[in-house]
């Protein structure tokens, strides 16, 4: 098991005051909160922060951690010495906020694929009792799940929430997706066990980025004859090299040669549903937006497709091209800065 340097995680000195620790945690929590952060590893960082703060904010756990961690470096192999926690109040009663409260990322996680369990390192030091009492509760990521499981009979099953990624092309045509959900199940002995369920779902044509759909009765099974919960899916578009999507409107950048923009041209534009002939008017400028009505994501009404022209210059790699450029210079009487200065 790897030793974790909680001070380094929070970016504080080992002799930091409790106030400094709190301030560091608050600042980093805002920075790495998965709802707010754009950092790629925000999820992992936020969990690590929560774990570090869980230990360092509590003077007693901090003291124990300091003692056991003397001379240890982050990433080094680590085994807690036997009876290392003798004399501490929390001994054997490893209480963590996790599992007792709910609703946030730091407590029980937010989605099936995202288990908010603390690291093995943490659990080996502070989590013994919890591990015995709660079993694999943390592997079911739904907030509040622990509290909602053991209510009497005849209860409606829990709703499930999950995200599904689809390609833009799938929004045009509709698609089927297979996803695996993690959930908990109470066995005959009343213990909570992790359970996997693999579902094949149909994504209707015309969905938008961030849209939600619901499959009635496809969540957790009810208990004691209660009805099943529902399955809520959030649709996420995979990012596409070529297209940008806003609502049902789709924008793409179309590279054109200077003569196509200047003289006008008919160009085959690749759309998610197949290519379409686009008429580029003569005297088109860089950045001109052309609209293909109703060619966005289908719906009532369908979105539009916007094509932004990007003029690409042929490189002057040989004498003929150079000569052509010189000839254009001679006849065009053109000062690009004159136009540019008019803009603010």
């Amino acid at each position: 098991m790897e030793f974790k340097d909680y001070y380094a995680v929070l970016g504080v000195e080992r002799d930091a005051t409790q106030e400094e620790i709190k301030r560091a945690y608050r600042r980093l929590a805002r920075k790495y909160h998965p709802d707010v952060s754009q950092e790629a590893d925000a999820d992992a960082r936020f969990k690590e922060l929560g774990e570090a703060y869980e230990v360092l904010k509590d003077p007693e756990k901090r003291l124990a951690y300091d003692q056991v961690g003397q001379g240890q470096r982050a990433g080094e192999d680590f085994r807690p010495p036997p009876d290392w926690d003798a004399g501490f109040e929390f001994r054997g009663g490893g209480y963590t906020q996790q599992g007792h409260s709910r609703g946030g990322y730091s407590a029980g996680g937010h989605s099936q694929e995202d288990s908010a369990a603390f690291s093995d390192f943490f659990e080996s030091l502070f989590g013994q009792r919890r591990a015995a009492g709660f079993g694999p509760a943390a592997s079911n990521g739904e907030p509040g799940s622990a509290g909602y499981r053991d209510r009497g009979a005849g209860l409606r099953g829990e709703d499930h929430h999950a995200k599904v990624s689809i390609a833009l092309e799938d929004a045009y045509r509709g698609a089927t997706r297979t996803l695996t959900l993690q959930s908990g199940e109470i066995d005959d002995q009343g213990r909570l066990r992790p359970r996997q369920r693999t579902l094949k779902v149909r994504i209707p044509k015309g969905v938008k980025q961030g849209q939600r759909i619901r499959l009635g009765g496809q969540g957790e099974a009810g208990m004691g004859g209660g009805p099943a919960g529902d399955l809520y899916l959030e649709i996420e578009f995979e990012s596409h090299r070529r297209y940008q999507v806003e609502g049902r409107d789709v924008t793409l950048i179309l590279p054109v040669a200077p003569w196509e923009a200047a003289l006008g041209a008919t160009i085959a534009v690749p759309l998610p549903e197949g290519s379409v002939e686009l008429k580029v008017p003569s005297d088109s400028r860089e950045g001109r937006r052309l609209r293909l009505k109703g060619r966005g994501i289908p719906g009532q009404p369908p979105g539009d497709c916007y094509v932004t022209l990007k003029i690409v210059l042929p490189p002057a790699t040989n004498e003929d091209v150079k000569a052509a450029y010189r000839q254009l210079e001679a006849v065009a009487n053109f000062d690009p800065r004159a136009a540019a200065e008019e803009k603010p």
């Binding site: 608050r26 929590a29 805002r30 909160h33 998965p34 709802d35 707010v36 936020f46 929560g50 409260s101 709910r102 609703g103 946030g104 990322y105 730091s106 407590a107 937010h110 907030p143 509040g144 909602y148 409606r156 709703d159 929430h161 089927t176 297979t178 369920r197 693999t198 579902l199 094949k200 779902v201 149909r202 209707p204 969905v207 938008k208 961030g210 849209q211 939600r212 759909i213 619901r214 499959l215 009635g216 009765g217 496809q218 529902d230 399955l231 809520y232 959030e234 940008q244 999507v245 806003e246």
Partner: protein, 101 residues
């Protein structure tokens, strides 16, 4: 491994028209109705319908409720703060789309 085929199960589109009732929203977010009513009063989510029994929410409200829940719990912000954060996050998302990130 068994794959449950749900392709024939009817799909409710939650953002085309508002369909979620106050009760459904509370149940699926595991929160009290009073708290959702506070969110409506604060303008964080806007239902269709005038009286509470007639309220219907869009799927997007579901997302907003869950984000506020997490921000309150994890960062200790109050309701007004969470509402402000949501608005700024929307703005950031809009600007990011515009610059093509």
């Amino acid at each position: 491994m068994t794959i449950h085929d749900l392709t024939q199960v009817p799909v409710d589109n939650l953002d085309e028209t508002p369909v979620l009732t106050l009760g459904e929203l509370c149940r699926t977010c595991t929160v009290h109705a009073e708290w959702v009513i506070e969110l409506v009063d604060e303008g964080v989510i806007v239902p269709d319908g005038r009286r509470r029994e007639q309220w219907r929410f869009y799927g997007a409200s579901l997302h907003r409720v869950r984000v506020v829940q997490r921000l309150q719990h994890d960062l200790g912000v109050n309701l007004a703060g969470a509402a402000l954060a949501l608005e700024l996050m929307d703005e950031v998302a809009r600007l990011r789309r515009r610059v093509g990130e």
